[in-house]
Amino acid sequence: MGFLFGKKKKVQQEEGEKQRPGIRFPEGIWIKCASCLEIIYKPEVERNLNVCPKCNYHFRVPVMERIRSVSDEGTFAEFGDDYESIDMLGFSDSKKYSDRLKDARKKTGRKDATVIGTAEVGGVPVVLAVMDFEFLGGSMGSVVGEKIALAAEKALEIGCPLIVFSASGGARMQEGTLSLMQMAKSSAALARLGDAGHAFISVLTDPTTGGVAASFSMLGDIIIAEPGALIGFAGPRVIEQTIKQKLPEGFQRAEFLLEHGMVDMIVERTRLNAVLALLLKTLTAHTGK
Protein backbone atom coordinates (compact mmCIF):
# COMPACT_ATOMS: atom_id res chain seq x y z
CA MET A 1 0.00 0.00 0.00
CA GLY A 2 1.28 3.40 -0.83
CA PHE A 3 3.85 1.73 -3.00
CA LEU A 4 3.54 4.28 -5.74
CA PHE A 5 4.42 7.07 -3.41
CA GLY A 6 7.90 8.10 -2.52
CA LYS A 7 9.40 5.69 -5.04
CA LYS A 8 9.18 8.07 -7.90
CA LYS A 9 12.11 6.77 -9.89
CA LYS A 10 11.07 3.14 -9.83
CA VAL A 11 7.44 3.86 -10.52
CA GLN A 12 8.24 6.05 -13.44
CA GLN A 13 10.30 3.30 -14.95
CA GLU A 14 7.53 0.80 -14.39
CA GLU A 15 4.95 3.16 -15.71
CA GLY A 16 7.09 3.81 -18.74
CA GLU A 17 6.29 7.47 -18.60
CA LYS A 18 7.21 10.68 -16.93
CA GLN A 19 10.93 9.99 -16.90
CA ARG A 20 11.13 10.78 -20.58
CA PRO A 21 11.58 14.45 -21.27
CA GLY A 22 8.52 16.21 -22.55
CA ILE A 23 5.94 13.84 -21.18
CA ARG A 24 4.95 16.01 -18.24
CA PHE A 25 3.48 18.71 -20.47
CA PRO A 26 6.29 21.26 -20.04
CA GLU A 27 6.33 24.73 -21.48
CA GLY A 28 6.97 23.43 -24.98
CA ILE A 29 4.42 23.05 -27.71
CA TRP A 30 5.54 19.60 -28.77
CA ILE A 31 5.53 16.58 -26.50
CA LYS A 32 6.50 12.96 -26.89
CA CYS A 33 3.87 10.28 -26.26
CA ALA A 34 4.91 7.85 -23.52
CA SER A 35 3.42 4.94 -25.39
CA CYS A 36 4.06 5.35 -29.11
CA LEU A 37 6.97 7.81 -28.69
CA GLU A 38 5.56 9.99 -31.46
CA ILE A 39 6.21 13.70 -31.22
CA ILE A 40 2.77 15.26 -30.94
CA TYR A 41 1.36 18.77 -30.90
CA LYS A 42 0.39 19.60 -27.32
CA PRO A 43 -2.73 21.69 -28.00
CA GLU A 44 -4.01 18.84 -30.14
CA VAL A 45 -3.54 16.38 -27.25
CA GLU A 46 -5.34 18.73 -24.88
CA ARG A 47 -8.22 19.19 -27.28
CA ASN A 48 -8.39 15.42 -27.39
CA LEU A 49 -8.88 15.22 -23.56
CA ASN A 50 -5.24 14.31 -22.97
CA VAL A 51 -5.44 11.26 -25.18
CA CYS A 52 -2.68 10.68 -27.77
CA PRO A 53 -4.23 11.25 -31.21
CA LYS A 54 -1.81 8.72 -32.74
CA CYS A 55 -2.06 5.71 -30.42
CA ASN A 56 -4.94 6.46 -28.02
CA TYR A 57 -2.65 6.48 -24.98
CA HIS A 58 -4.46 8.07 -22.03
CA PHE A 59 -2.32 10.65 -20.23
CA ARG A 60 -3.15 11.56 -16.65
CA VAL A 61 -5.55 14.47 -16.49
CA PRO A 62 -5.09 17.48 -14.21
CA VAL A 63 -7.92 17.68 -11.68
CA MET A 64 -9.54 20.91 -12.86
CA GLU A 65 -9.40 19.79 -16.49
CA ARG A 66 -11.16 16.58 -15.48
CA ILE A 67 -13.87 18.46 -13.65
CA ARG A 68 -14.32 20.81 -16.59
CA SER A 69 -14.55 17.98 -19.11
CA VAL A 70 -16.93 15.82 -17.07
CA SER A 71 -19.41 18.30 -15.62
CA ASP A 72 -21.90 20.32 -17.64
CA GLU A 73 -20.59 23.81 -18.26
CA GLY A 74 -20.76 26.11 -15.26
CA THR A 75 -22.43 23.57 -12.95
CA PHE A 76 -19.52 22.56 -10.72
CA ALA A 77 -19.58 24.08 -7.24
CA GLU A 78 -16.80 22.99 -4.92
CA PHE A 79 -17.46 22.36 -1.24
CA GLY A 80 -15.33 21.10 1.64
CA ASP A 81 -12.27 22.95 0.35
CA ASP A 82 -11.24 24.04 3.82
CA TYR A 83 -9.75 20.75 5.04
CA GLU A 84 -6.01 20.62 5.47
CA SER A 85 -3.76 17.69 6.41
CA ILE A 86 -1.68 17.87 9.54
CA ASP A 87 1.39 15.94 10.66
CA MET A 88 -0.21 14.28 13.69
CA LEU A 89 2.59 11.71 14.10
CA GLY A 90 5.56 14.04 13.72
CA PHE A 91 6.60 11.84 10.78
CA SER A 92 9.92 12.27 9.11
CA ASP A 93 11.89 10.10 6.67
CA SER A 94 14.34 11.73 4.28
CA LYS A 95 12.03 14.72 4.57
CA LYS A 96 9.49 15.82 7.14
CA TYR A 97 5.87 15.03 6.31
CA SER A 98 4.99 18.65 7.10
CA ASP A 99 7.49 19.75 4.44
CA ARG A 100 6.14 17.24 1.95
CA LEU A 101 2.70 18.71 2.53
CA LYS A 102 3.99 22.25 2.03
CA ASP A 103 5.71 21.27 -1.22
CA ALA A 104 2.65 19.45 -2.50
CA ARG A 105 0.44 22.44 -1.74
CA LYS A 106 2.84 24.73 -3.56
CA LYS A 107 3.08 22.38 -6.53
CA THR A 108 -0.66 21.79 -6.94
CA GLY A 109 -2.20 24.91 -5.40
CA ARG A 110 -4.52 22.57 -3.47
CA LYS A 111 -4.77 21.73 0.22
CA ASP A 112 -4.88 17.99 -0.36
CA ALA A 113 -5.36 15.20 -2.88
CA THR A 114 -9.12 15.34 -3.54
CA VAL A 115 -11.55 17.95 -4.89
CA ILE A 116 -15.26 17.50 -4.22
CA GLY A 117 -18.30 19.43 -5.37
CA THR A 118 -21.82 19.34 -6.71
CA ALA A 119 -22.30 19.34 -10.47
CA GLU A 120 -24.51 18.20 -13.28
CA VAL A 121 -23.45 15.51 -15.72
CA GLY A 122 -25.64 15.12 -18.80
CA GLY A 123 -28.24 17.23 -17.02
CA VAL A 124 -28.36 14.94 -13.96
CA PRO A 125 -27.36 16.46 -10.59
CA VAL A 126 -24.47 14.58 -8.98
CA VAL A 127 -21.78 14.91 -6.38
CA LEU A 128 -18.37 14.67 -8.00
CA ALA A 129 -15.07 13.77 -6.35
CA VAL A 130 -11.79 13.85 -8.25
CA MET A 131 -8.48 12.68 -6.84
CA ASP A 132 -5.22 14.45 -7.61
CA PHE A 133 -2.28 12.13 -8.26
CA GLU A 134 0.04 15.15 -8.33
CA PHE A 135 -0.58 15.68 -4.61
CA LEU A 136 1.66 13.13 -2.86
CA GLY A 137 0.68 10.41 -5.31
CA GLY A 138 -3.00 10.87 -4.56
CA SER A 139 -2.36 9.11 -1.26
CA MET A 140 -5.28 8.82 1.17
CA GLY A 141 -4.77 10.42 4.54
CA SER A 142 -7.37 11.81 6.92
CA VAL A 143 -8.39 14.63 4.55
CA VAL A 144 -8.95 12.42 1.51
CA GLY A 145 -10.97 9.96 3.60
CA GLU A 146 -12.95 12.80 5.13
CA LYS A 147 -13.72 14.35 1.76
CA ILE A 148 -14.86 11.09 0.18
CA ALA A 149 -17.13 10.55 3.21
CA LEU A 150 -18.39 14.15 2.94
CA ALA A 151 -19.08 13.66 -0.77
CA ALA A 152 -21.09 10.50 -0.07
CA GLU A 153 -23.01 12.23 2.72
CA LYS A 154 -23.75 15.23 0.48
CA ALA A 155 -25.09 12.90 -2.23
CA LEU A 156 -27.26 11.23 0.41
CA GLU A 157 -28.50 14.60 1.62
CA ILE A 158 -29.34 15.85 -1.89
CA GLY A 159 -30.54 12.42 -2.96
CA CYS A 160 -28.36 12.14 -6.05
CA PRO A 161 -25.67 9.83 -7.46
CA LEU A 162 -22.00 10.08 -6.51
CA ILE A 163 -19.18 9.88 -9.06
CA VAL A 164 -15.60 9.41 -7.87
CA PHE A 165 -12.54 9.57 -10.13
CA SER A 166 -9.75 7.67 -8.37
CA ALA A 167 -6.04 8.23 -8.92
CA SER A 168 -3.96 7.08 -6.01
CA GLY A 169 -1.03 4.97 -4.94
CA GLY A 170 -2.91 3.98 -1.78
CA ALA A 171 -2.99 4.99 1.86
CA ARG A 172 -0.69 7.74 3.15
CA MET A 173 1.91 6.03 5.35
CA GLN A 174 2.86 9.32 7.01
CA GLU A 175 -0.48 9.32 8.78
CA GLY A 176 0.00 5.81 10.12
CA THR A 177 -2.98 3.73 11.20
CA LEU A 178 -5.31 6.73 10.91
CA SER A 179 -4.80 6.57 7.14
CA LEU A 180 -5.78 2.89 7.21
CA MET A 181 -8.99 3.83 9.02
CA GLN A 182 -9.97 6.14 6.15
CA MET A 183 -10.71 2.99 4.16
CA ALA A 184 -13.36 2.03 6.72
CA LYS A 185 -14.70 5.57 7.03
CA SER A 186 -15.19 6.11 3.28
CA SER A 187 -16.69 2.63 2.80
CA ALA A 188 -19.14 3.16 5.68
CA ALA A 189 -20.35 6.41 4.11
CA LEU A 190 -20.90 4.56 0.83
CA ALA A 191 -22.91 1.88 2.62
CA ARG A 192 -25.34 4.57 3.80
CA LEU A 193 -25.61 6.06 0.32
CA GLY A 194 -26.31 2.63 -1.12
CA ASP A 195 -28.84 1.76 1.59
CA ALA A 196 -30.79 4.87 0.59
CA GLY A 197 -30.87 3.63 -3.01
CA HIS A 198 -28.54 6.17 -4.60
CA ALA A 199 -26.04 5.22 -7.26
CA PHE A 200 -22.28 5.30 -6.90
CA ILE A 201 -20.25 5.31 -10.11
CA SER A 202 -16.55 4.71 -9.60
CA VAL A 203 -14.14 5.69 -12.36
CA LEU A 204 -10.70 4.14 -12.00
CA THR A 205 -7.92 6.12 -13.64
CA ASP A 206 -4.20 5.45 -13.75
CA PRO A 207 -3.22 4.42 -11.11
CA THR A 208 -5.76 3.14 -8.57
CA THR A 209 -3.99 0.89 -6.09
CA GLY A 210 -3.49 -0.10 -2.46
CA GLY A 211 -5.87 1.21 0.17
CA VAL A 212 -7.89 3.29 -2.27
CA ALA A 213 -8.51 0.29 -4.54
CA ALA A 214 -9.27 -1.82 -1.47
CA SER A 215 -11.96 0.58 -0.26
CA PHE A 216 -14.27 3.05 -2.00
CA SER A 217 -12.87 2.64 -5.53
CA MET A 218 -13.96 -0.97 -5.87
CA LEU A 219 -17.39 -0.37 -4.32
CA GLY A 220 -19.09 1.28 -7.28
CA ASP A 221 -22.51 0.06 -8.38
CA ILE A 222 -20.86 0.60 -11.72
CA ILE A 223 -17.09 0.54 -12.05
CA ILE A 224 -15.56 2.14 -15.13
CA ALA A 225 -11.84 1.91 -15.88
CA GLU A 226 -9.83 4.08 -18.26
CA PRO A 227 -7.81 2.19 -20.88
CA GLY A 228 -4.44 0.99 -19.65
CA ALA A 229 -4.96 2.16 -16.07
CA LEU A 230 -2.95 0.31 -13.41
CA ILE A 231 -5.45 -1.08 -10.88
CA GLY A 232 -4.66 -3.45 -8.05
CA PHE A 233 -4.20 -4.15 -4.39
CA ALA A 234 -0.52 -5.00 -4.04
CA GLY A 235 2.26 -3.33 -5.98
CA PRO A 236 3.78 -5.30 -8.85
CA ARG A 237 7.20 -5.25 -7.19
CA VAL A 238 5.84 -6.59 -3.90
CA ILE A 239 4.09 -9.42 -5.73
CA GLU A 240 7.22 -10.30 -7.72
CA GLN A 241 9.31 -10.37 -4.56
CA THR A 242 6.73 -12.50 -2.74
CA ILE A 243 6.10 -15.13 -5.37
CA LYS A 244 9.53 -14.90 -7.08
CA GLN A 245 7.98 -14.98 -10.53
CA LYS A 246 7.85 -12.55 -13.43
CA LEU A 247 4.40 -11.01 -13.76
CA PRO A 248 2.45 -11.64 -16.95
CA GLU A 249 2.18 -8.96 -19.62
CA GLY A 250 -0.61 -6.50 -18.92
CA PHE A 251 -0.99 -7.67 -15.30
CA GLN A 252 -3.15 -5.28 -13.21
CA ARG A 253 -4.03 -3.14 -16.21
CA ALA A 254 -7.65 -2.16 -16.83
CA GLU A 255 -7.99 -4.79 -19.58
CA PHE A 256 -6.80 -7.51 -17.18
CA LEU A 257 -9.42 -6.47 -14.64
CA LEU A 258 -12.18 -6.46 -17.25
CA GLU A 259 -11.17 -9.96 -18.34
CA HIS A 260 -11.30 -11.16 -14.72
CA GLY A 261 -14.69 -9.62 -14.07
CA MET A 262 -13.53 -6.92 -11.68
CA VAL A 263 -14.74 -3.85 -13.61
CA ASP A 264 -17.92 -3.30 -15.62
CA MET A 265 -16.36 -1.62 -18.62
CA ILE A 266 -13.38 0.17 -20.04
CA VAL A 267 -14.40 3.49 -21.51
CA GLU A 268 -12.21 5.71 -23.65
CA ARG A 269 -12.04 9.25 -22.39
CA THR A 270 -13.58 10.71 -25.53
CA ARG A 271 -16.71 8.58 -24.96
CA LEU A 272 -16.78 8.89 -21.17
CA ASN A 273 -19.26 11.75 -20.88
CA ALA A 274 -21.78 10.08 -23.13
CA VAL A 275 -21.50 6.82 -21.17
CA LEU A 276 -21.78 8.58 -17.80
CA ALA A 277 -24.84 10.54 -18.95
CA LEU A 278 -26.57 7.40 -20.16
CA LEU A 279 -25.74 5.48 -16.97
CA LEU A 280 -26.94 8.33 -14.76
CA LYS A 281 -30.22 8.60 -16.65
CA THR A 282 -30.74 4.85 -16.32
CA LEU A 283 -29.82 4.59 -12.65
CA THR A 284 -32.02 7.56 -11.69
CA ALA A 285 -34.92 6.68 -14.01
CA HIS A 286 -37.12 5.17 -11.31
CA THR A 287 -35.88 6.95 -8.25
CA GLY A 288 -36.24 10.40 -9.77
CA LYS A 289 -33.01 11.32 -8.07
Binding site: M1, D93, L178, A184, A188, M218, F256, H260
Partner: protein
Protein backbone atom coordinates in the same frame (compact mmCIF):
# COMPACT_ATOMS: atom_id res chain seq x y z
CA UNK B 1 6.06 -26.08 21.97
CA UNK B 2 9.71 -25.04 22.38
CA UNK B 3 9.95 -21.57 23.83
CA UNK B 4 11.92 -19.24 21.58
CA UNK B 5 13.57 -16.03 22.73
CA UNK B 6 13.83 -12.65 21.07
CA UNK B 7 17.13 -10.74 21.36
CA UNK B 8 15.86 -8.41 24.04
CA UNK B 9 14.47 -11.35 26.01
CA UNK B 10 18.00 -12.84 26.22
CA UNK B 11 18.91 -11.46 29.68
CA UNK B 12 15.69 -12.97 31.04
CA UNK B 13 16.31 -16.24 29.22
CA UNK B 14 19.83 -16.55 30.61
CA UNK B 15 18.60 -16.10 34.16
CA UNK B 16 15.79 -18.57 33.59
CA UNK B 17 18.24 -21.18 32.30
CA UNK B 18 20.40 -20.67 35.35
CA UNK B 19 17.36 -21.04 37.59
CA UNK B 20 16.38 -24.21 35.78
CA UNK B 21 19.84 -25.70 36.36
CA UNK B 22 19.74 -24.82 40.04
CA UNK B 23 16.31 -26.36 40.44
CA UNK B 24 17.43 -29.54 38.78
CA UNK B 25 20.32 -29.85 41.24
CA UNK B 26 18.17 -28.95 44.26
CA UNK B 27 17.10 -31.93 46.41
CA UNK B 28 15.63 -29.63 49.06
CA UNK B 29 18.41 -30.24 51.59
CA UNK B 30 20.88 -27.48 50.80
CA UNK B 31 19.74 -24.15 52.20
CA UNK B 32 22.29 -22.12 50.21
CA UNK B 33 20.87 -23.52 46.95
CA UNK B 34 17.34 -22.67 48.02
CA UNK B 35 18.42 -19.14 48.94
CA UNK B 36 20.13 -18.83 45.60
CA UNK B 37 16.94 -19.97 43.87
CA UNK B 38 14.75 -17.49 45.62
CA UNK B 39 17.26 -14.70 44.95
CA UNK B 40 17.32 -15.62 41.28
CA UNK B 41 13.53 -15.72 41.09
CA UNK B 42 13.32 -12.21 42.47
CA UNK B 43 15.99 -11.06 40.06
CA UNK B 44 14.11 -12.50 37.09
CA UNK B 45 10.98 -10.62 38.06
CA UNK B 46 12.96 -7.41 38.35
CA UNK B 47 14.89 -7.82 35.08
CA UNK B 48 11.70 -8.69 33.23
CA UNK B 49 9.92 -5.66 34.65
CA UNK B 50 12.81 -3.43 33.59
CA UNK B 51 12.97 -4.83 30.07
CA UNK B 52 9.20 -4.66 29.56
CA UNK B 53 8.83 -1.21 31.06
CA UNK B 54 10.97 0.28 28.32
CA UNK B 55 9.98 -1.62 25.18
CA UNK B 56 10.53 0.18 21.91
CA UNK B 57 7.86 0.04 19.22
CA UNK B 58 10.04 -2.32 17.25
CA UNK B 59 10.34 -4.66 20.22
CA UNK B 60 6.57 -4.61 20.58
CA UNK B 61 6.37 -5.48 16.87
CA UNK B 62 8.61 -8.47 17.52
CA UNK B 63 6.41 -9.52 20.43
CA UNK B 64 3.30 -9.22 18.23
CA UNK B 65 5.01 -11.63 15.81
CA UNK B 66 6.54 -13.87 18.47
CA UNK B 67 6.65 -17.48 17.23
CA UNK B 68 5.16 -18.66 20.53
CA UNK B 69 2.39 -16.06 20.63
CA UNK B 70 -1.12 -17.48 21.07
CA UNK B 71 -3.10 -17.56 17.81
CA UNK B 72 -6.84 -17.40 17.18
CA UNK B 73 -7.41 -21.13 17.68
CA UNK B 74 -5.51 -21.02 20.99
CA UNK B 75 -7.88 -18.31 22.21
CA UNK B 76 -10.86 -20.29 20.90
CA UNK B 77 -9.62 -23.28 22.84
CA UNK B 78 -9.21 -21.36 26.12
CA UNK B 79 -12.09 -18.84 25.96
CA UNK B 80 -14.90 -20.63 24.13
CA UNK B 81 -16.85 -23.86 24.24
CA UNK B 82 -18.50 -25.99 21.55
CA UNK B 83 -16.62 -24.53 18.60
CA UNK B 84 -17.90 -25.67 15.19
CA UNK B 85 -15.85 -24.58 12.19
CA UNK B 86 -17.56 -23.39 9.00
CA UNK B 87 -15.63 -23.71 5.75
CA UNK B 88 -15.48 -22.17 2.30
CA UNK B 89 -16.78 -19.18 0.36
CA UNK B 90 -19.29 -21.28 -1.67
CA UNK B 91 -17.69 -19.97 -4.83
CA UNK B 92 -14.05 -20.94 -5.17
CA UNK B 93 -12.11 -22.32 -2.24
CA UNK B 94 -11.72 -22.72 1.50
CA UNK B 95 -9.01 -20.27 2.48
CA UNK B 96 -7.14 -21.59 5.53
CA UNK B 97 -5.61 -18.29 6.78
CA UNK B 98 -9.13 -17.31 7.86
CA UNK B 99 -11.08 -19.46 10.31
CA UNK B 100 -14.82 -19.04 10.88
CA UNK B 101 -17.27 -20.83 13.11
CA UNK B 102 -19.88 -20.90 15.83
CA UNK B 103 -18.86 -20.99 19.49
CA UNK B 104 -20.07 -20.27 23.01
CA UNK B 105 -18.67 -17.54 25.23
CA UNK B 106 -19.90 -18.01 28.80
CA UNK B 107 -23.12 -19.53 27.51
CA UNK B 108 -23.67 -16.85 24.87
CA UNK B 109 -23.72 -18.23 21.33
CA UNK B 110 -21.53 -16.23 18.99
CA UNK B 111 -19.86 -16.33 15.60
CA UNK B 112 -16.06 -16.21 15.64
CA UNK B 113 -13.99 -15.14 12.65
CA UNK B 114 -10.26 -14.54 12.54
CA UNK B 115 -6.86 -14.88 10.97
CA UNK B 116 -4.92 -18.03 11.80
CA UNK B 117 -1.17 -18.43 11.48
CA UNK B 118 0.67 -21.75 11.58
CA UNK B 119 2.96 -22.84 14.40
CA UNK B 120 5.43 -25.09 12.56
CA UNK B 121 6.66 -25.03 8.97
CA UNK B 122 3.99 -27.40 7.70
CA UNK B 123 1.19 -25.47 9.40
CA UNK B 124 2.63 -22.15 8.30
CA UNK B 125 2.51 -23.21 4.68
CA UNK B 126 -1.00 -24.62 5.06
CA UNK B 127 -2.12 -21.30 6.61
CA UNK B 128 -0.19 -19.29 4.00
CA UNK B 129 1.63 -17.52 6.87
CA UNK B 130 -1.67 -15.98 7.91
CA UNK B 131 -2.10 -14.11 4.61
CA UNK B 132 -5.61 -14.57 3.20
CA UNK B 133 -6.65 -14.67 -0.43
CA UNK B 134 -9.88 -12.97 -1.57
CA UNK B 135 -11.90 -16.13 -0.96
CA UNK B 136 -10.89 -15.97 2.71
CA UNK B 137 -12.50 -12.55 3.05
CA UNK B 138 -15.53 -13.77 1.09
CA UNK B 139 -15.86 -16.76 3.41
CA UNK B 140 -15.72 -14.35 6.35
CA UNK B 141 -18.42 -12.19 4.79
CA UNK B 142 -20.62 -15.21 4.10
CA UNK B 143 -20.39 -16.22 7.74
CA UNK B 144 -21.02 -12.65 8.91
CA UNK B 145 -24.24 -12.67 6.90
CA UNK B 146 -25.17 -15.91 8.67
CA UNK B 147 -24.56 -14.18 11.99
CA UNK B 148 -26.81 -11.30 10.93
CA UNK B 149 -29.53 -13.67 9.75
CA UNK B 150 -29.55 -15.67 12.97
CA UNK B 151 -28.99 -12.70 15.30
CA UNK B 152 -25.65 -13.91 16.59
CA UNK B 153 -23.00 -11.44 17.74
CA UNK B 154 -19.62 -11.61 15.99
CA UNK B 155 -16.18 -11.66 17.56
CA UNK B 156 -13.25 -11.23 15.18
CA UNK B 157 -9.56 -11.95 15.85
CA UNK B 158 -6.99 -9.98 13.89
CA UNK B 159 -3.55 -11.45 13.34
CA UNK B 160 -2.10 -11.17 9.85
CA UNK B 161 0.98 -9.70 8.17
CA UNK B 162 -1.46 -8.58 5.45
CA UNK B 163 -3.63 -9.85 2.62
CA UNK B 164 -1.64 -12.12 0.29
CA UNK B 165 0.08 -10.31 -2.59
CA UNK B 166 -0.13 -12.82 -5.43
CA UNK B 167 -1.20 -13.16 -9.04
CA UNK B 168 -4.29 -15.21 -8.20
CA UNK B 169 -5.24 -12.83 -5.41
CA UNK B 170 -5.24 -9.94 -7.87
CA UNK B 171 -7.10 -11.95 -10.53
CA UNK B 172 -9.84 -12.81 -8.06
CA UNK B 173 -10.13 -9.26 -6.74
CA UNK B 174 -8.25 -8.87 -3.47
CA UNK B 175 -9.16 -5.16 -3.48
CA UNK B 176 -12.84 -5.83 -4.05
CA UNK B 177 -12.99 -8.52 -1.38
CA UNK B 178 -11.45 -6.26 1.27
CA UNK B 179 -13.52 -3.23 0.22
CA UNK B 180 -16.74 -5.27 0.29
CA UNK B 181 -16.08 -6.41 3.84
CA UNK B 182 -15.46 -2.84 5.01
CA UNK B 183 -18.77 -1.73 3.53
CA UNK B 184 -20.79 -4.70 4.75
CA UNK B 185 -19.34 -4.74 8.25
CA UNK B 186 -20.13 -1.04 8.65
CA UNK B 187 -23.86 -1.78 8.51
CA UNK B 188 -24.18 -5.41 9.51
CA UNK B 189 -27.18 -5.73 11.82
CA UNK B 190 -25.53 -7.56 14.71
CA UNK B 191 -22.93 -6.57 17.33
CA UNK B 192 -19.31 -6.93 16.22
CA UNK B 193 -16.37 -7.03 18.64
CA UNK B 194 -12.90 -6.80 17.11
CA UNK B 195 -9.83 -8.07 18.96
CA UNK B 196 -6.39 -7.35 17.54
CA UNK B 197 -4.39 -10.20 19.06
CA UNK B 198 -1.12 -10.12 17.09
CA UNK B 199 -0.23 -8.38 13.86
CA UNK B 200 -2.81 -6.01 12.43
CA UNK B 201 -1.33 -5.78 8.95
CA UNK B 202 -2.96 -3.21 6.71
CA UNK B 203 -6.14 -3.69 4.65
CA UNK B 204 -5.91 -7.43 5.14
CA UNK B 205 -6.43 -6.85 8.87
CA UNK B 206 -9.03 -4.09 8.57
CA UNK B 207 -11.17 -6.35 6.36
CA UNK B 208 -12.11 -8.13 9.61
CA UNK B 209 -11.75 -4.98 11.69
CA UNK B 210 -14.88 -2.85 11.37
CA UNK B 211 -16.96 -3.23 14.51
CA UNK B 212 -18.62 -1.72 17.56
CA UNK B 213 -15.75 -2.11 20.00
CA UNK B 214 -12.10 -2.46 19.00
CA UNK B 215 -9.92 -4.22 21.57
CA UNK B 216 -6.20 -4.71 21.34
CA UNK B 217 -3.89 -7.05 23.22
CA UNK B 218 -1.17 -5.03 24.93
CA UNK B 219 1.73 -6.18 22.73
CA UNK B 220 -0.10 -6.25 19.42
CA UNK B 221 0.46 -3.88 16.54
CA UNK B 222 -1.93 -2.38 14.00
CA UNK B 223 -0.53 -0.54 11.01
CA UNK B 224 -1.23 0.74 7.52
CA UNK B 225 1.82 -1.07 6.14
CA UNK B 226 4.42 -3.32 7.76
CA UNK B 227 7.40 -1.44 9.20
CA UNK B 228 9.57 -3.29 6.64
CA UNK B 229 7.30 -2.25 3.76
CA UNK B 230 7.23 1.34 4.91
CA UNK B 231 11.01 1.36 5.33
CA UNK B 232 11.63 -0.06 1.88
CA UNK B 233 9.40 2.60 0.29
CA UNK B 234 10.30 5.70 2.27
CA UNK B 235 13.88 4.88 3.31
CA UNK B 236 14.54 2.54 0.37
CA UNK B 237 15.95 0.11 2.93
CA UNK B 238 13.88 -2.57 4.69
CA UNK B 239 16.52 -2.63 7.45
CA UNK B 240 15.17 0.74 8.59
CA UNK B 241 12.00 -1.03 9.82
CA UNK B 242 12.85 -0.12 13.38
CA UNK B 243 12.66 3.59 12.57
CA UNK B 244 9.51 3.08 10.50
CA UNK B 245 7.81 1.36 13.46
CA UNK B 246 8.72 4.31 15.68
CA UNK B 247 7.46 6.82 13.12
CA UNK B 248 4.16 5.11 12.31
CA UNK B 249 3.20 4.66 15.98
CA UNK B 250 1.63 1.25 15.67
CA UNK B 251 1.40 0.03 19.27
CA UNK B 252 -1.66 -0.27 21.48
CA UNK B 253 -0.96 2.84 23.64
CA UNK B 254 -0.42 4.89 20.45
CA UNK B 255 -3.67 3.72 18.89
CA UNK B 256 -5.66 4.27 22.05
CA UNK B 257 -4.43 7.85 22.01
CA UNK B 258 -5.44 8.31 18.35
CA UNK B 259 -8.90 6.87 18.92
CA UNK B 260 -8.36 3.86 16.65
CA UNK B 261 -9.04 1.37 19.46
CA UNK B 262 -11.27 1.43 22.54
CA UNK B 263 -9.36 -0.62 25.09
CA UNK B 264 -6.04 -2.33 25.72
CA UNK B 265 -6.13 -5.86 27.09
CA UNK B 266 -3.27 -6.47 29.53
CA UNK B 267 -0.95 -9.39 28.79
CA UNK B 268 0.85 -11.57 31.33
CA UNK B 269 4.32 -10.48 32.55
CA UNK B 270 6.70 -10.99 29.66
CA UNK B 271 3.99 -11.16 26.98
CA UNK B 272 1.12 -13.43 25.95
CA UNK B 273 3.54 -16.12 24.70
CA UNK B 274 4.76 -16.74 28.26
CA UNK B 275 1.35 -17.87 29.44
CA UNK B 276 -1.34 -18.60 26.85
CA UNK B 277 -3.94 -19.43 29.47
CA UNK B 278 -3.47 -16.23 31.42
CA UNK B 279 -3.52 -14.19 28.19
CA UNK B 280 -6.72 -15.92 27.14
CA UNK B 281 -8.35 -15.29 30.51
CA UNK B 282 -7.48 -11.63 30.26
CA UNK B 283 -9.04 -11.46 26.78
CA UNK B 284 -12.06 -13.51 27.79
CA UNK B 285 -12.87 -11.22 30.70
CA UNK B 286 -12.89 -8.23 28.37
CA UNK B 287 -14.90 -10.04 25.67
CA UNK B 288 -17.58 -11.09 28.14
CA UNK B 289 -17.94 -7.57 29.53
CA UNK B 290 -17.94 -5.94 26.11
CA UNK B 291 -20.51 -8.37 24.76
CA UNK B 292 -22.76 -7.75 27.77
CA UNK B 293 -22.57 -4.02 27.12
CA UNK B 294 -23.46 -4.35 23.42
CA UNK B 295 -26.26 -6.93 23.54
CA UNK B 296 -28.90 -4.62 25.09
CA UNK B 297 -28.40 -1.92 22.43
CA UNK B 298 -31.17 -1.73 19.82
CA UNK B 299 -29.75 -2.38 16.33
CA UNK B 300 -30.38 1.14 14.89
CA UNK B 301 -28.55 2.65 17.84
CA UNK B 302 -25.75 0.14 17.49
CA UNK B 303 -25.31 1.00 13.81
CA UNK B 304 -25.37 4.76 14.44
CA UNK B 305 -22.75 4.29 17.10
CA UNK B 306 -20.60 2.17 14.78
CA UNK B 307 -20.91 4.72 11.97
CA UNK B 308 -20.03 7.62 14.28
CA UNK B 309 -17.00 5.74 15.59
CA UNK B 310 -15.34 5.29 12.20
CA UNK B 311 -16.66 8.59 10.85
CA UNK B 312 -14.72 10.40 13.57
CA UNK B 313 -11.39 8.73 12.78
CA UNK B 314 -8.72 10.96 11.32
CA UNK B 315 -7.10 14.24 12.24
CA UNK B 316 -6.93 17.43 10.17
CA UNK B 317 -7.25 21.15 10.30
CA UNK B 318 -10.40 22.87 9.11
CA UNK B 319 -9.81 26.43 8.06
CA UNK B 320 -12.60 28.89 8.70
CA UNK B 321 -13.98 30.78 5.74
CA UNK B 322 -13.95 27.86 3.30
CA UNK B 323 -17.09 26.75 1.49
CA UNK B 324 -17.85 23.78 3.73
Amino acid sequence: MILQYLDFERPIADLENKLEQLRRGDDGTDKTVRDEISKLEKKIVKVRKDVFANLTRWQMTQLARHPNRPYMLDYINFCFKNFIEIHGDRAFHDDAPIVCGFAELEGERVVVIGHQKGRNTKEKIARNFGMPNPEGYRKALRVMKLAEKFHLPIITFIDTPGAFPGIGAEERGQSEAIARNLLEMSHLKTPIIVAVVGEGGSGGALALGVGDEILMMQYSIYSVISPEGCASILWRDPAKAEIAAEMMKITSPDLLKFGVIDRIIPEPEGGAHRDHKEAAESLKKELVQTLASLLPLPIPQLLDRRYAKFRAMGQFKKKAGGAA
